[in-house]
Subunit: 313 residues, 2 copies
């Protein structure tokens, strides 16, 4: 089934120990859409400026991503400038030029209204909630957020959290949202806010899924937490978009399956890690533009091999 | 086969968000020996003072640990004082009274000379090397170290590293020892110093094993890294000794097996996590004194369940 993602399509200027790139294609919706496109059809709602050129459209077209919901507005595209050092676990934001994104009013194309899988990438929770409320056929909602919305827009975020089947955030965000230092208590507190499940991303250590004390898979018992590994990589060229690529692989796989079961959710966690591991191998979206389904499946097997007791050598 | 551990038997004064304990039994060799004792016979070389009482001896005796190598010296037992806050990932050392440990000269009882599995807990690498050189029958050596020896005793540590089949350290120690921030490059650099394999502990995120580019399992190819999970725990009462308990579970299981294979090594990583997860549930050695083999095996299955794709719900 098709996924609709609403979020940012942006230009990123990035410096890492491996080099520097100016104004390359980025944004949460872009990374998500590319990663998910290897599993299912993807539709995008975003806004870009006059500097968004046919070469950038071509990146979406090449992956058969439906970009009719990417609105053109007068002015420049959202531009993020950041740098990474040390373990590359955290970006230092050097500049955020919102540009056309500042007045982003998501418009839902008629053709998108039958979408059943919605991904609310990291944007103002007011917009997340508005998009959700205008999608009558949606049967699963997955979303992301960040420290800025958690700290200063808690009431608006609370509305969104109640709508989510899956919330995908990182360790620091889970701690901030819950006020709990312990990861299990943090997860319990976040799940009490509404999401039916929570996927906490640990960067180079993988991710953990927690499930809420209500029916999610149509089962009586609540599944235990599940831990998916990340791949130890000798070279992380650019971590930008790793989390969004994780989300794209995760949700793309989920939406491609006929039924949501605990086994499907677990595999989705692995596919999330797989797409995140590809994303960081090159700057920006470069790697996710060119990966093949065969490479994805081979890496999935590698994830299994490095984490399962019964693996072949 | 029996394991000989040389290291500290100590008293710990500990404060965590869950409470405070004064002068409870601790020390790397103690935690290691208790954890390993559920898998195989364990012998201990250490030194204690006049404050080491029959009640402390009884802890070793109850687990049938051979404590003939624990020497009594005039003075007080090594005493560590520390506190944990926040995520409990790192101890703040408030005091280190070496006492009798300051002049520790490991003496190897005659009855220990046939030991084939040696564990060099975190002590002066000069002593680690000396014990190793006096154990003629040893066929596997596993060891630990810490920032103090890495920084200020590098040349002595280098001698020990060349003798190790397995080096067990944490992320920060791997980065410090290698000078590399990236975990894979750090592992490569550490393995180039001599150990045939490296187990890097990630605290609440589990552990990763890396293997060196030489024969270890008698195979032609080098095994890929392996990632073992840790159990998400809602309550970490006292993290002291978690790493030593991991080492005890890991090495105890290894030594109990007739042959060292990649599959055995993987299971050993899981048993390490299992014993670490028990250790932190109570203060000091309390939990590891009283755990049962049935509980250990049930938790091993839990570790499998939370990390394997094909788990039952």
């Amino acid at each position: 089934m098709a996924i609709l993602v609403v979020g940012s399509v942006a230009f990123d200027s990035i410096e890492t120990p491996h080099g520097k790139r100016a104004k390359i294609l980025g944004g949460a919706a872009t990374h998500f859409a590319l990663a998910a496109s290897y599993f299912t059809d993807v539709r995008v709602i975003a806004v870009v400026g006059e500097d968004f050129l046919p070469e950038h459209e071509a990146v979406f077209a090449a992956r058969k991503i439906d970009a009719r919901g990417i609105e053109r507005a007068p002015g420049l595209t959202f531009h993020w400038t950041g740098a990474y050092a040390g373990t590359l676990n955290e970006a230092q934001t050097l500049g955020t030029d919102l540009n056309v994104f500042e007045r982003f009013e998501p418009k839902i194309p008629e053709a998108y209204l039958d979408t059943e899988y919605l991904f609310l990438a990291n944007i103002d929770p007011v917009l997340q909630a508005r998009v959700r409320s205008h999608m009558p056929k949606v049967r699963m909602v997955c979303g992301d957020t960040m420290n800025y919305w958690i700290k200063d827009h808690a009431a608006n975020l609370a509305v969104v959290l109640r709508e989510l089947d899956v919330l995908l955030i990182n360790d620091a965000e889970a701690r901030m949202l819950s006020g709990e230092q312990n990861s299990v208590r943090a997860a319990d507190a976040v799940l009490a806010m509404g999401p039916k499940s929570l996927v906490v991303k640990h960067g180079e250590y993988g991710a953990t899924a927690f499930f809420c004390n209500r029916s999610f898979f149509g089962m009586e018992s609540v599944p235990r937490p599940f831990r998916a590994p990340a791949l130890p990589l000798a070279e992380v060229v650019d971590p930008t978009g790793a989390g969004d690529s994780f989300a794209g692989g995760f949700y793309g796989y989920l939406a491609s399956q006929p039924e949501l079961t605990p086994a499907v959710f677990r595999k989705a966690m692995f596919y999330g890690g797989v797409m995140g591991s590809f994303a960081v191998e090159r700057f920006g979206t470069e790697r996710l533009q060119g990966v093949t389904r065969e490479e994805i499946d081979a890496r999935f097997e590698l994830f299994r091999e490095i984490s399962h007791l019964d693996s072949a050598v």
